[in-house]
Structures are given as C-alpha cells and as structure tokens.
C-alpha cells in the first residue's frame, strides 16, 4: 500500500481545493444580496447553517422532513415541499401579517439545500409518521 498519493491524485486534490476557495469567494458576493432581501433573518439563517442546526430526516419511503434547532434550543419542524415551519414567527409574520417571506428556519433549510450542508438522519417509516404527527 503506497504511503504517498500518486502525483496525479495530489494534483487533482489541489485543483479541487482551489476551486472550492474560488467558490467560497463567489458565494461571499451573494451574501450581501441575501441580506438585502431577507434582512436580519439572513444572518441568523446563515448562523444556523454554520452551527449545523439543520437535520434532514428521511425514511425508506423517500418522504422527508426537516428539523431545525432554533437559537433558543427548541426544535422546529419544517416542510420544505410546501413552505411551512412550526415556529411562532412563521405563524405570525408570514401567515398573518404577510410581511416576511420566510422565517429564519425555513431560510436556513433552503440555504442548507443550496450549500449541500446539513445533518442527515434516517428513520423508519413509522418513526417518520410519528415525527410528522407530533409537530404542529
């Protein structure tokens, strides 16, 4: 078993690292626009993503649900398919007052989908039913 990686693999890994840095730079340009559209929710949402607070829960059936650990430590359930979050902010400002586009948890879910970074949890079909039933 070789101790050092072959040169071609090293080179490839270096190129990938450079591309990731480039990507991070491009992403950084998009963050101000995110803030413009979403205001303070953007920073809070990015923070949630950074802290790995989003979990994608799926079962063998393929059905999925998201759970986000909010800043208070409370867990909220989000349905990305149709835009729903169990947090009070969603109920109040998005549905009643219609002045916010998203709550920070939903924004965090969408960001984590884009950035492909969230915890993943596999549960059984029955457990997924329980999760959906329990959170409203």
């Amino acid at each position: 078993m070789a101790v050092a990686l072959p040169a071609v693999v090293e080179e490839l890994l270096n190129e990938m690292a450079a591309a990731m840095r480039e990507c991070a730079r491009s992403m950084a340009f998009l963050f101000p626009r995110l803030k413009f559209v979403f205001g303070s929710s953007a920073v809070q949402a990015l923070d949630l993503v950074d802290r790995q607070s989003i979990t994608l829960i799926s079962s063998p059936s393929g059905r999925r649900v998201y759970q986000v650990i909010g800043s208070s430590g409370k867990t909220y359930t989000c349905l990305a398919s149709c835009h729903y979050c169990s947090c009070p902010a969603f109920a109040f400002s998005v549905l009643r007052k219609s002045d916010s586009l998203l709550c920070k948890h939903l924004l965090a879910v969408y960001l984590s989908q884009v950035m492909r970074t969230c915890q993943q949890l596999s549960v059984s079909d029955k457990q997924l039913t329980d999760i959906l039933m329990e959170k409203k």
Partner: protein, 249 residues
C-alpha cells in the same frame, strides 16, 4: 389541482379544446355555500382522473357519500369507480394520521388527492396553527405522491371548503391563510337565472397566467350533471364581493 377540474368542465361543456396536458397544476380550493355542488364536482374530477390511466384517486371525507353523485353520463363507469379509494377519517386527528402515514402504505401511488369538507376538520381551530399545519400536510402528502410517482408523473390536490353567504372576520382570516397554500380557487355560486333546474355558476382561477374561466353547471331532477361554458363575463357585484374580501388580507 386546477387542471383536472378544468378538463372536467371543458369536456363536459363540449366547448373546450382538448387539453392533453399531464400537468396537474397548483393545489386548488373548491368553495361554495352548502348544497352548491362542490361534492358533485369533486367527484366528477375523481372520475375524470380515474379514467386517465395513472394512479388511483384518494378521496377523503368525513362521512360516506349518501349516494354517489351522478356525474356526467359518460364518466360513471364501474371501472372508474374501482380506481377511487375512499377513506373516512372521523376527526381532525385521524385525518392528520392518514396524511402523516401516507408514505407507509404500499401499492400504487395516488395521482390525485381529494378532500371533501375541509371545514368539518377545521371547526375546532378555524384560523390557528392547526389549520396551517393541516393545509401544509395536504400539500406535503401530494408532493410526496408526486415524488414517488416518478419524474413525469403528477399528483394533484383539490380540497372543498364550505363557505357561508356572509363571511365573518374569522372565516375571512382562515380563507386568507388557506389561500397562501392553495393558489388556485374555484367558486360555486347558485345561479338565479336558471329556475326549475338547479344551476350553479363555476368560476375557476388557476392563480397563473390564464384568465378566470366560467361555466354553468346544471343538475337535472334525476341528478345528472350537465356543464356548459360561459364566455368570459364582466365581473358581477356578487362575485366581486367574494373576490374583493379575499384581496383585503
């Protein structure tokens, strides 16, 4: 699920262009006062979808239909009926259970999800968190069926909601809340212009680029339903009242 309803109405009126879109369209709310023909129209949509050769139709309602609506003569064929699965969740909790466990069942995936009488499940909490979650779950269940059916398949969603003649504040709030999740609406309203037979005007707004379309549905004494299309009329005051109260919130 505006499109299957549009197909039913266009086909019934024989005035529509043959629409062969496999697209199911956005989730649709079918509204009208008691006795305005919502169940009959919903059932007609079920029969139409059953005949389209895709998955079965899941028809949820609190109480079994006393008698099957006659529908239009051509669609009430036994084999279509066999493709409609009825379930009767007696309470909101049971309905939630049906929706939350939809992924547990094996067998063919429904291509159309129908709920008759949403108001009966919202009675306990008209405009609160529970209403929101129920609406969201309906959409999520349809989305899950769509995902299971594969890339080219669709799953539509139509829900009926009984409205009162005079909408009070609480009901208006609930309506606004539901319209966040149901971009398409279809309004059924008694038509004064047709004495004798029971006639209802149907107005369909898909929430998209297509303009509002109207039809006239008539129920003959034997229960058979006939549909004629109405050319786009200028908005009449009674219809305006219902759509302007929607716009306020």
């Amino acid at each position: 699920m505006a499109e299957v309803l549009r197909r039913v109405l266009n086909r019934g009126s024989a005035a529509g262009i043959a629409e062969n879109t496999a697209e199911s369209g956005p989730p649709l709310l079918l509204l009208g006062a008691p006795g305005s023909g919502k169940t009959a129209l919903l059932f007609a949509a079920a029969l139409e979808a059953a005949g389209e050769g895709r998955g079965p139709v899941l028809f949820l309602t609190r109480r079994p239909l006393q008698s099957l609506p006659r529908g239009t003569a051509r669609t009430l064929e036994p084999w279509r009926l066999q493709k409609i699965r009825f379930q009767y969740p007696p309470s909101t909790q049971e309905l939630l259970q049906v929706l939350c466990s939809a992924h547990e069942s094996t067998g063919p995936v429904p291509s159309l999800l129908l709920l008759d009488g949403l108001e009966e499940y919202l009675a306990e909490d008209p405009a609160g968190q529970d209403t929101t979650y129920l609406a969201a779950l309906l959409l999520d269940t349809a989305a899950y069926f769509r995902q299971r059916a594969g890339p080219s398949r669709q799953c539509g969603l139509i829900v009926t909601l009984q409205t009162q003649e005079e909408a009070d504040g609480g009901e208006a709030l609930q309506r606004a809340l539901l319209q966040r999740y149901f971009p398409a609406q279809c309004w059924l309203q008694a038509d004064e212009a047709s004495p004798g037979a029971q006639g209802f005007r149907v107005g369909l707004e898909s929430g998209g680029p297509r303009p509002r379309a109207e039809w006239l549905v008539t129920f003959r004494p034997d229960g058979e339903m006939t549909i004629t299309s109405r050319p786009n009329q200028t908005r009449e005051p009674s219809l305006d009242k219902s759509s302007s109260s929607r716009g306020q919130l």
